[in-house]
């Protein structure tokens, strides 16, 4: 049941407890307490709109920076990650396996903006060995949702 609630809310966070209860065939109070428990335990950490900022501001850019970092003796990668997290421009920070260590997602107002941020703020952090910046060009699918252009029309035809 928990998983079903999560899937429904992941698709549409604005469903009311009443609607959830109807769809899942449980009581409204059961739905309410399940959602409450998920929120309290942190499984649901928040609700937010999915915004296509590109439509608001054409120049806005999204970049992914791969960082090679030399880990600290006691704190490993945590210390560097901690410092990076503090910047408002940084949307997400992940520790990765493979050919680099930290993956940092950045929202900026322009290419120049992001490039300067990387050069001045990220590459200068003690322990950062190198950076590689990639700009996002187009989102085809995001958080399980297929994006792009006009909504595809119903291809089904009435056959009988």
């Amino acid at each position: 049941m928990q998983e079903k609630i999560l899937k429904l809310l992941e698709e549409n966070a604005r469903l009311t407890n009443r609607e959830l209860s109807v769809m899942l065939g449980i009581s409204e109070s059961a739905a309410a307490s399940a959602v409450d428990a998920l929120e309290k335990s942190g499984v649901i950490s928040g609700y937010r709109a999915i915004v296509n900022w590109e439509q608001v501001d054409k120049a806005r850019v999204n970049a992914w920076i791969e960082l090679k970092v030399s880990p600290k003796r006691d704190t490993g990668f945590d210390e560097v990650a901690q410092r990076i997290m503090e910047f408002d421009e940084v949307v997400s920070v992940y520790l990765m396996s493979g050919s680099y260590d930290l993956l940092v997602e950045i929202n900026g107002y322009s290419l120049q903006d992001v490039a300067m941020f990387v050069a001045k703020q990220l590459s200068t952090i003690d322990g950062v060995l190198s950076t590689s910046t990639s700009f996002l060009l187009k989102k085809y699918k995001d958080k399980g949702t297929v994006l792009g252009g006009e909504e595809e029309s119903d291809k089904r035809s009435m056959v009988l």
Partner: protein, 393 residues
């Protein structure tokens, strides 16, 4: 000038066009561009990717030839295994199963192999629109049996008993039902079996929606009931369970003497079902069970949501337990089915199908399909709610 009325067969000329279709042409000619529809009777999911991939692979390997008449051995065997796994039915893949071009061909083929001129075919209604015309084309006489909302649209033993005559040859058993969403549970089938046991009546059990039943108990085939296997032709297919409508692939299963004749007819009329589709279907049979579960869960929550909304609008709505349709009663608006549907298109730009398209006993009802996304369903129901509020008596 050739007189086509004298050229065309009297049988085909006596067949009325599909009522669903007729209503659709009406909707299309309305000139409205923002019509939102809850009327289509096929899954809104694309075929699961691994199934598509299997079909693509077969084309890449050049497997583009006819299959054996009955279908590929691998597919027949996996269909047989699937039916054992899911329904406890045992059919010999070599002699008792035929792969067809959709369930539709299997229905046509079965009727043409069973019906002699004048034989009566019992057809519970409301039901899918093909049984009557195909019976007529096979030279039989269609005999509708009315199923009612008070019986949750099940075929009752009493109604069946009253319809049987010395000429009765076939009983069509269309459950889970399109358009009502009714299902026949084991106890109900036992009652039907009781009446048929000592007769020569054959059952054409159209179980195309067998994977789409809701609630705790899965679908039961009448062939599972004591004494029924020998008189039952099961119709099934990949369209609804695996979202494979466009692949046109189904199957018939039944006693060897009947299947032998059906295979002969299929051989002359069709030769063999599409090869590429059969490769996709093999993959579906092997590893499609999780897809079925995923899609059924999704249909189930839409079903609950729609029934809840319709009842909140004040419409009487029996809870459907199968397929992907709800069949609410709209008599409280004082309109006929057709009037209701026509005006709802004109006033709120929502298209649903009048119940009368599925037999005269569907009058007073409408068919709403939930093979649409929740978002789409919500928008359509919001409009429908306005329409009902305006027109409620």
């Amino acid at each position: 000038m050739i007189d086509y009325n004298s050229v065309l067969s009297s049988r085909i000329r006596s067949v009325q066009p599909s009522g669903i279709r007729r209503f659709f042409d009406l909707a299309n000619s309305s000139g409205l561009s923002d019509i939102i529809s809850l009327s289509i009777g096929e899954p809104d999911f694309a075929t699961p990717w691994h199934i598509r991939q299997a079909a693509i692979d077969s084309i890449e390997k050049g497997r583009t030839f006819y299959s054996p008449n009955r279908g590929f051995t691998d597919l027949l065997e996996s269909v047989s295994e699937y039916c054992t796994r899911r329904f406890g039915l045992t059919y010999d893949p070599k002699t008792e199963i035929l792969v067809t071009v959709g369930g539709s061909e299997a229905i046509d083929c079965a009727l043409r192999c069973l019906v002699s001129p004048g034989d009566e075919v019992l057809i519970p209604q409301p039901s899918f629109v093909c049984y009557e015309p195909l019976t007529v084309m096979a030279g039989g006489v269609p005999v509708p049996i009315v199923t009612e909302a008070k019986d949750e649209f099940r075929l009752t033993a009493e109604a069946l008993k009253n319809a049987i005559t010395p000429n009765t040859k076939v009983l069509v058993l269309p459950f889970p039902n399109n358009p009502t969403g009714a299902v026949m549970r084991r106890a109900h089938l036992e009652e039907i079996a009781q009446i048929l046991r000592d007769t020569n009546i054959m059952i054409l059990s159209d179980e195309i929606y067998c994977e789409l039943t809701y609630g705790d108990t899965p679908h039961v085939s009448i062939a599972e009931i004591d004494g029924m296997r020998e008189r039952t032709i099961i119709i099934n297919g990949f369209s609804k369970s695996f979202a494979m409508t466009g692949w046109r692939l189904g199957w018939a299963m039944g006693p060897e003497p009947v299947l032998t004749q059906m295979t002969k007819l299929h051989q002359f009329g069709i030769m063999s079902a599409p090869t590429t589709a059969q490769y996709g279907a093999m993959e579906a049979m092997r590893s499609g069970d999780p897809d079925i579960a995923r899609m059924r869960d999704e249909y189930d929550l839409r079903r609950r949501y729609i029934v809840h909304r319709l009842r909140a609008m004040g419409l009487e709505c029996f809870e459907p337990e199968g397929a992907f349709y709800v069949f609410p009663c709209i008599r409280s608006t004082g309109m006929t089915s057709e009037e209701f549907c026509t005006r709802m298109i004109q006033e709120e730009h929502v298209a649903v199908v009048p119940g009368s398209a599925f037999g005269s006993s569907g009058e007073g009802f409408i068919r709403i399909s939930y093979s649409y996304s929740l978002k789409h369903i919500t928008e359509a129901l919001d409009r429908m709610e306005r329409f009902i509020a305006k027109n409620k008596r």
